[in-house]
Amino acid sequence: VCLARELKALRPDLSWETDARLTEMDFGHWKGQRWDALDPAERRVLEKLGILLGVNDVQRIWRTIDADISAAARSLPTAAHSARVYFEVNNGPYAAGEASFIGETLARLGVHNIVPASLGSFPKLNPEFVVRANPDLIMVGDYNYIGMEQRPGWSGMRALRDKRVCLFNRDETDMLARPGPRMADGARLMARCIADKLSTITSGTP
């Protein structure tokens, strides 16, 4: 109740929350203030937010981002579409699953994410799940990559053995980790790396 009162005093134009308990609270009659539950792990969150805030041309902006992602996907060779990718968010290891916006972008690029949607957006995996899945390509922030080859049992994985690892610096990781206006830049970055690292597969080299 205190939280509701404090929130009301701030008179927000829009309240965006991811906690279902908040929407269940009685906020009385908040004229002109809208509540919406948005999932930040969802790729289209940007479009929804634009609509809620009444941003002009939101559909056009979203279509541009969407078209850029499609263009990034088209830039990949067809053979890359059979590639199996593991995107590590954190060396817990937490992965970006198919249900996350990163997973959605990977799906748009046409590659196969080894972490199925049934495991949720960013699941904490048993490390042996990744070893067993034996991905063709690993995407990871450079800090989280430190020591990855020394993790028990990981050195034999195809992606690590053949150095097919996309390393992202802090700025790039920051861009990839947010479903914001730079999503298309993120998709291009991933597409470039996939094309580069998987060229050994597509050219027939093991």
Binding site: L125, Y143, G147, P152, G153
Partner: protein
Amino acid sequence: MMNPRANAIARMLLLLAITFAAVGAGVGSTGFENILQAANDPVAWQIVCDIRLPRTLGAWVAGALLGLAGAVAQGLFRNPLADPYLLGSASGASLGVALSLVLFGVSPFATQWLLRLGVTFGAFAGAITGVLLTLLLAKGVQHTLRLLLAGVIVGVVLGAAKELIMLARPDFLQSMQSFMLGSTGYVGWSACSIMLGTWLVCMAAAWALSPALDGLVLGEATAASLGLPLTQLRRALVAVLALATGTAVAQTGLVAFVGLAAPHLVRSVVRTSHSRLILLSSLMGGVLLMAADILSRWVVAPQELPVGVLTALLGGGYLLWLMHRQGVVRDTL
């Protein structure tokens, strides 16, 4: 002469450990598998040899170190609530780990020998600092309440210092948080060997020092009148406690309640001297953490629960039940 009941419990705990080791080798990201079938699949065999066996054995040794530390702490401070967490040694060890990782610029999950040894030394230094600060603040071990209060304060302050270090390094924050929730997922053979070596040293030292703990049960004055050099023995026991806690924390992060619950579980079934209590608590701690590790990877496979969260839930639940049961028994008398 060996107490027959203690002997039987030791055998039973060893048998349980062997059984859990076999189960642990078979439980993975796909649930339970027959390890005999894995022999025909090179990837499955590599998973069993390089991931499941070291993490299962590692969980046992880490639990054994914590059980040993708990039994030593409870005997040394003559306090059944004493454990590595309540005396500031676990917080000190985690601060030592955080400092070492920032200094070396490595991931908490790094498996190279030298790095693991360096992190272990950092954790040991942190743990011993934590215990000494607690003793300094409590002005000795005579006042139970003061000792516990000092332990809690030192734990909070050292924990906050660790958080500050982590906040100063955001790139390092997430992996450190994952590690500190308690993790056995990346325990490899190097971490396992370091823990095993330390356990042997600590067990031998604790065994040799156990007459001092037996003497302390009779009170400090009586122990001194028996000719025990209490100051030196206490220092040595604090070193054993810090080494065991620091080594476990450096390899598996913070794993709560094992050090507290293991000696209690042993005492609930057998009354024995400290030499046997320490051994049995250590075996019990190993079995507890091994079981928690198996559960952590089985319950939501192929996902994994942080093992420290699971031990806190189960261990905390057990102690609450124990308190409730004792309350019920007291009320009925």
